[in-house]
Every structure is written in C-alpha cells, then in structure tokens.
C-alpha cells in the first residue's frame, strides 16, 4: 500500500512536470511590450487556433537584411522585431525591442534602451551586441547587399558617411549621425538579427566563408529551424511554391494589458495562390479566413455578403502605388518640348483628365482622385488643400487657346506653332489598368483638339525607355515610401534616379525644381514633425501647381474577412494591407479567432 502511494506520488510529480512544460514554453521578458487598448479593440480576445490567409507571391528568402521584395518583407516582419516601428495605422513611432529612446544634439545622436530579458526564439538572450552586429557587421558592411545602408548613408562635404553605432552597456545602443537627417530614422526600423547564429556567415568575422556569403544565407532552401527570430512568430514549415506555416514564438515580447503573452494565434498558414480568382473561390468556400481583393472582385463578394458570415471592407486609399502621366520635357521634338515645359499646357491637359469616369470604369468606383505626390493614406504628411484639376474641358480649351494653340485647318486637331497637328504617343505596359486609363484620357484629349495615341509595350521596355528619356508621354505607377523623403528625392528631386520626365534637370533645374530640392533638404534636416510637415505641405503645393507629373487616382485597399476573425476589420483602418501582391499582417499578434 505504501509503495503504491509513493508510486502514485512519483507519478503525479511526473504528470505535474509534464503539465508545466507548456507553461514554461511561453516566456515573457521582464518588461514586455504591452499593446494598449486603443489597438486591441476586440471583445474578450481568445487564445489559440490557426489563421489561414493567402497571398499571390511567396517570400524570396528569409534574410531581412538583403530583402527587396515586399513578399519577403511580409514574412520577415512577422518573425523579427525592430528597435521601434512606425505604427501602420496611427503612423506614430511605437517602441518595440527598445522600450524607449532619446534624441540628443538636435537629432544627431539617438540612444536606444532595450527591454530587459529579451530572448531569441532559441532561448538565447537578445542584447545590445545583436543590435550593434545588425548594423555594424551587416548593414554597414560593403560585402552585404543592404539597401538600408544607402538609406543611412549621408552626404557630408561630398563624401558618403555612415553613422557610428556603439554599445553603451548590455541594454543600451547609441547611434551618432554625421549631421541631422530626419529620414534616416526610418532606416533604423530595420529588423534586428541574432549575432550568435549569423556571425559565422559573415566573411568579415569569419574569413573561412567566401565573400558575399551572407547574401546567400537564410535563403529559401535553408532548414527553417535554423532561422532564429525575435518577432511574434517563428517559421514552422515552408513548402516552396505552396505554403508557409508560422507558429507562436514562445519568447515573443508582446503582451496584452492583462499581462498575457501575445500573439493570440497558435499558427498562421499562408497559402500561395497566384490566381486571384482561385483565392476568391477558396475564400467563399471557407478555406481562407481573410483575403485582400482587387476592385474587379469587389462586386461579386459584396453581393454575397448579406447572405454569408463575412464582411467586405473598403479601407480607404492605398498607401503606396499611384498612377501618373509623365510628359517628357526633354523630348526630341522641339515643338512638343516647348509645350511640355509650359506649365499652362500641363494644367490644360490635367483639366482634361476625367477622374470620375476613370474611377467608375477602371476601378469599379473603388478609387479616389489624387492631386499630389503623397497619398491621403499618409495622414502625417498628406496635404488636402492642393490645387485640384477637376474634369473641365472648357477650362482646358481656354488654357490651350491662351497658349496660342488653335485649330486653323479645321480638322479638329490644334496645330503647333510650326503648323503641325498636335499629336503624341503615350506608352505604358500592356494589359494593365493604366492602358484603360490612358484610353479614356486620349478620348477626352481628342475633344479639346489633342491627338494622343496609346501604345501598350512590355513592362521592361516601358521602364527602359523612361530611363533613357526615349518617350513622349509615359504612364507609370510609383511606389510611395512612408517617409516622403524617399520618393521625394528619387522621383521629384532634380537629380533623382527616377526624375524621368526631365533628365536634363540634373544639370539645369528650373526654378520650381530648385525650390523642391531646397524644401526636401530642409525637411530632412530637422526632426521636428511640425516643421517637417510645413515643408512637405509646401512641397506638395508646388508640385500640384506645377504638375510635373499628372497625378491621377489612388485605388482603395479592399479586403474580405469572415466574422469569426477578431481584431481585423472592426475599424475602417486596414489591418490587412496588400502591397503589390503580398499580404501584410502588420498587427498579426493581435488577431484572434472567435470560438
């Protein structure tokens, strides 16, 4: 009897031990990142479950340092943490791995204070060493293909200089920039990587591996168990071309206000479905929990919404891509060049662009007119009080008459000063929305006596011809950056790498371009938000008045979600963002499934 009970005690001890294992599995740092109620608006969120989503493109690797494609970043964002992050909805800077930070010397020096007790997904401690490694040995290492490097590189006296990064103590890191440069801060939001796992893959630290070896580290054929992260999720399984399964990181540093470790979900399954029609049917069948959709599928889903347990959301204008018409101010034809350089002409054609018809016919009423370079989604910097060129053919005709463009021979087409018909060709890539948009525009231009021929070419041909300046009019989309500085300098800066409508501005900028350059550099050299906003307001105002590019419309972000998914879609803000075919779940740690 006695021995029996001791066996029982031993047995229950073992049982208790076994039961405690899952409790030990989740470990929060001493100072977790507590997600405040403002963002956690669901009713009694529940833990557990698998969330199934689909995306048109899978990741191209798991190495966030060299990642260039949005489909890769979409995944790495979930498995790595950053020092701080710009919140996708409020656009405020939110602490992540750093619990706080301070700027000193007018924004030249940044000191970050890490949370204590942070751990990598393999249980090793995450400290200032890892942060210094990520910047000094990876991003600032010329052997590594990092794009963050060029973001953080500042020109000082004609020389490119990188900031100094230094470990102050175990939990403190300091960055010293050579000068005040506000946009650089965004470069510091890059994911932090584990030194103990990766140091042997870097040629500089381990001469045994070849040069450039790090660029091929953590590629798609890496065993996913070797990928150690610090975000809310880790990779459980990856099947090339088919799916990726993420699971809760037991060392996640996120917690809710009750002190419970987040994420709520046990797993996320991301299925790769390149055909949107196929993913829509899969969603309707219940095989996918949430889906980002394009304007053409919106009516189908909206029609079924009342009968089904899902909702279709319109989340307002998208953040990034906008379509533009660029009139080449360096075009070979002297007459056209003179016209395209005339702001009255550019304004005239802007009045001839029928944004209403384009929104209705090309985007199923699911887009908004755009008048400047910054999307309305960028609430921090968007200037709503810009000059608007609402469709007005009479106003367009008036302006053309003022320039002296008239139709003398009565064939319906105005003649240039040389007596030739005013005709030009717009190029864009075949098979895109841009073609339809350009055709509507051409139709209206003809009504005011301008003949524009629309030509569909292959995407790369269009890009090459834009880069070489071999075009008259080009229709393209540009990806917007979160901080206006990126797109600003690259596209609108007179020496920008994609200032395609006026390449000669590099040597010979016009007055407006000089002003833009000045505003961009002023906005970059202060870290005061209000001051920056003032400069960018002015920048947008000048661009809307000068119309160097004819801004058209901004498509809306649309998605459909089943009602059993919580903390997604209960506000008008996009919790699920589709960026160029990749599904982004910026707040995946908050999503839960209602039982």
């Amino acid at each position: 009897m006695r021995s029996f009970s001791s066996i029982r005690i031993a047995f229950s001890l073992i049982l208790a031990l076994l039961l405690s294992v899952p409790l030990l599995a989740g470990e929060l740092p001493q100072t977790p990142k507590v997600v405040d109620d403002r963002l956690n608006f669901g009713q009694n969120p529940q833990f557990g479950g698998t969330f199934v989503v689909s995306t048109t493109t899978g990741p191209e690797g798991f190495n966030p340092v060299i990642a260039t494609s949005t489909s890769t970043i979409a995944i790495t964002d979930l498995i790595f943490g950053r020092l701080f992050e710009v919140h996708p909805i409020t656009l405020e800077q939110e602490p992540e791995l750093a619990k706080s930070w301070k700027a000193s010397e007018g924004g030249k020096v940044y000191t970050f204070y890490l949370r204590e007790g942070l751990k990598w997904s393999d249980g090793q401690p995450l400290t200032a060493e890892d942060v210094v490694f990520t910047f000094k040995d990876l991003h600032f290492n010329p052997d590594v293909e990092s794009d963050t490097r060029s973001q953080l590189q500042l020109k000082v006296d004609g020389e490119k200089k990188l900031p100094q990064v230094k470990k102050v103590d175990k939990y403190t890191v300091q960055f010293t920039f050579p000068k005040v440069f506000a946009p650089a801060l965004e470069g510091l939001t890059t994911p932090i990587l584990p030194k103990h796992v990766l140091k042997d893959q870097v040629h500089k630290l381990n001469p045994e591996v070849s040069q450039g070896n790090f660029n091929e580290t953590w590629s798609l054929d890496t065993n996913v168990d070797e990928i150690v992260g610090c975000g809310p999720f880790t990779i459980k399984e990856f099947a090339s071309g088919r799916y990726i399964i993420l699971e809760k990181n037991p060392y996640s540093f996120f917690a809710n206000e009750q002190g419970e470790q987040l994420p709520y979900l046990d797993k996320i399954k991301v299925l790769f479905v390149e055909n949107e029609q196929a993913s829509v049917t899969k969603f309707l069948n219940g095989g996918i929990d949430a889906l980002s959709i394009s304007a053409k599928n919106y009516p189908t889903l909206k029609k079924r919404e009342p009968k089904e347990n899902f909702r279709v959301y319109r989340a307002g204008p998208g953040f990034g891509t906008s379509h533009n018409f660029g009139f080449n101010q360096d075009v070979k034809d002297e007459d056209l060049k003179k016209l395209f350089r005339n702001v009255k002409f550019r304004r005239a054609v802007a009045y001839a662009f029928d944004e209403g018809t384009v929104v209705e016919n090309v985007f199923n009423d699911l887009a908004q007119p755009q008048w400047g370079p910054i999307s309305a989604a960028n609430t921090l910097y968007h200037n709503p009080n810009l000059k608007k060129y609402s469709f007005d053919l009479d106003r367009a005709r008036e302006l053309l008459d003022e320039i002296g463009l008239t139709d003398e021979d009565g064939d319906g087409i105005r003649e240039t000063s040389e007596g030739e018909d005013l005709a030009f060709t717009a190029i864009t890539n075949a098979g895109s929305d841009r073609i339809d948009m350009a055709n509507i525009f051409a139709n209206d231009l003809e009504k005011i006596g301008i003949k524009m021929t629309v030509k569909g070419l292959e995407f790369n041909t269009v890009i090459n011809r834009m880069l070489e300046g071999e075009f008259e009019v080009a229709v393209m989309s540009l990806v917007g950056s979160r901080d206006p500085h990126g797109t600003g300098t690259n596209v609108f800066g007179s020496d920008g790498g994609f200032h395609y409508w006026h390449w000669s501005a590099k040597d010979n900028p016009n007055e407006a371009e000089k002003k833009i350059d000045e505003l961009l550099s002023k906005a970059a050299s202060t870290v005061e938000l209000e001051e920056r906003q003032k400069y960018y307001d002015e920048y947008q105002r000048i661009l809307s008045e000068q119309v160097p590019l004819l801004f058209t419309v901004q498509p809306e972000v649309l998605y459909a979600v089943w009602n059993y998914v919580g903390n997604v879609g209960e506000t008008p803000s996009p919790y699920l963002l589709e960026r160029r075919g990749s599904l982004f779940l910026p707040l995946a740690h908050l999503i839960y499934l209602k039982k």
Partner: protein, 341 residues
C-alpha cells in the same frame, strides 16, 4: 529508319537503336538550349529592371545585385557558364527571384506532383477514350455514339482555364463543399502542413479529380475519334469478316482481332501526348493552384528569372524527346512488322 533487315536478331537492333536515339538527344538539347537562352535574352531589360521604379531601392543596391548575378556579362558568357555548370556538375544555375539553385525552384517538391497529375490524367483520358471509341465504333450512328461525340468535342473546345474556373465556381459557390473538403490546391487548408494520413490522402484525391477532368477531357476527344475511326476501318477488313464467318462471338472478334490492330496508330499519338499535357497542365495548375513544374516555369518567365526559364524549357524538350522514344519503342513491341536499324 524503318527498313527491313533480317540478318541480326531484332532485340539487338533495338538496343543500338535506342542508344543512337539517346545520343541524338545531346545535339538536339544543345540546340534547344541555345535557342531558348537566346529568345529569353531578346526580351528587353532584365530581372532587375522592375526595381528601377521602386524608389525604396537604391541604384547602388541594383548595381551590386547585377554584379552578383552576372547580369553585366555579355549573354554568350552567361550562356557558357550556365552550360558548363549543367555539364560538369548538373548545376542548372541560380534563381534570382528565389535566391536558390534552379533545381530547387523547378523540381524540388514539384516533379512528383507534375508526374502524379500527368500520369493520372493520361490514364483517365486514354482508358475512357479508348473504351468510348470502341463502343462508338461498334454502335456507329447510334444515339450514344452521337452523344459521346458531342461530349468529346465539348471537352476539346472548352478552354482549360474556363472549365477549371467553372468547376471551382460550381464546387465553392453553387454546391459549397465547405472548408473541410476544400477547393483548389492539393489539400484543404486544415490538411496543409499536416503529416500524411488516410484522411489527407482522400482529401488529396478529392483535389486531384478536377485537374484530371479539366486536362483529361481536353484530350479525350482526339483519342475517341482516332479509336473510333481506326476500329471502323479495321472492322471492314477481310480478316475480320473471316473471323466472323468462323463463328467467333462478336466480342471476341472486336477485342481480340480488331482492337489490337486498331490501337497501333494511337501509340504513336501517345508520344505526342506529353507536350499537350505540359501545355494543359500549365493553365490548369495556375487556376487550380497546383504546385507543378510548369507553374514555377511560368513564374520565372514573367519575372525574367532566366536560368529557371531556360532550364524549364530544357526540361520540357527532354520530356518530349523521351516521350517520342517511348512511343517508338512501344510501337515496335506491339507491331511485329516494324524493324529498326
């Protein structure tokens, strides 16, 4: 090539014939590789062009990537290096898009599904096609014959993508089979990433049949018409009449004497079936979301991931050559009149 020679034993001739045919593969594939690589190079721009419109990616990064991928080198150097890799190490090059060896992108975890889908489609369309062909020939101009003909031509004329979309719509919206059965892909969402089980296997079969039907019906009409025509010709031949007059039952006459001879021309057709299967599988795989080799190839074509695309073309040409060889060998086995030199 098919001249008669009686002196040496047929199987030895066959062996030298196969060896010779396989040796022919080498120059053929070489030419194919040059042409495919050349055509891919004709496209303007390269893999990195799309990054030029993305203001978030600096020119320095693009230059560094071009350097690493060898895109700055002239095309013939790129080709030569690629070829060298294949010949010396069976290394098909590097995929820019997915940052891994081409072999992993095109074949790893894909060849198996391609083969499963293709062979089950072949089995389905040929078994049913031949059976219907025999029935139609023996019941010429009956109502069933007409119906089968109509059905066959419908399958032939409905484009694969449309039939696939139709099936998807039917299953998910009209019938709504629910998430546990699922539509599209290889498995329903809840079986994705789970270990194999009977339930998962059955779920797999459930996901396989739409692909088989979509691709199979497209080719079935040809098989039906061929079989029907051949059998009708043969049924009119004198030796069939003789067999009948000997008093053999009609089933024996048809199956034992007529069908055996009527099936020969179909075997030649079998060799040409592979390109159709590859073409059909591409579109079907995209719509039904099946992870086949074709889909990886298609993606590579779009993104100008040249080594993946060129290796894909090489692979399909190889399949075609093998298919033809197999058809010729099969033909020799079933038809004793054919001799090889």
């Amino acid at each position: 090539m098919r001249g008669g020679r009686i002196s040496s034993p047929p199987h030895r001739n066959m062996l030298t014939y196969i060896t010779r045919r396989i040796l022919y593969f080498v120059p053929l594939l070489l030419i194919v590789s040059i042409i495919s690589f050349g055509i891919l190079q004709l496209r303007p721009g390269n893999f990195l062009t799309k990054y030029r419109v993305d203001p978030r990616i600096s020119e320095d990064t693009i230059k560094q990537m071009a350097e690493r991928y060898g895109l700055n080198e002239p095309p013939y150097v790129q080709y030569w290096k690629w070829l060298q890799g294949i010949v010396t190490e069976l290394d098909f090059g590097y995929s820019f898009e997915t940052q891994q060896p081409v072999f992993n992108v095109l074949f790893k975890g894909r060849v198996i599904w391609t083969l499963v889908v293709m062979s089950s489609t072949l089995l389905f369309s040929w078994t049913i096609g031949i059976l219907i062909g025999i029935y139609s020939a023996t019941h010429q101009y009956s109502l069933a014959d007409h119906l089968f003909t109509l059905f066959g031509f419908l399958g032939l004329s409905i484009p694969n993508f449309f039939l696939a979309l139709l099936l998807l719509y039917l299953l998910s919206v009209v019938i709504n089979v629910g998430p546990s059965l699922g539509v599209g892909g290889l498995f329903s969402s809840n079986y994705v990433g789970e270990p194999w089980s009977w339930g998962k296997f059955l779920n797999f079969l459930w996901h396989l049949w739409p692909a088989i039907v979509v691709m199979g019906t497209a080719r079935m009409a040809t098989v039906i018409r061929q079989m029907r025509g051949n059998l009708l010709d043969i049924l009119g031949e004198q030796y069939v009449q003789t067999a009948r007059s000997k008093g053999l039952s009609e089933i024996r006459v048809v199956l034992k004497h007529a069908v055996r001879n009527a099936i020969n021309p179909l075997i030649t057709m079998l060799g040409f079936e592979l390109p159709y299967l590859i073409g059909g599988a591409l579109i079907t795989a995209i719509v039904l979301n099946l992870p086949t080799v074709e889909r990886a190839f298609y993606g590579a074509l779009l993104s100008q991931d040249i080594y993946v695309a060129a290796s894909g073309l090489l692979f399909f040409s190889f399949l075609l050559l093998v298919g033809n060889l197999i058809a010729d060998i099969l033909l020799a086995t079933v038809d004793p009149r054919i001799r090889y030199d």
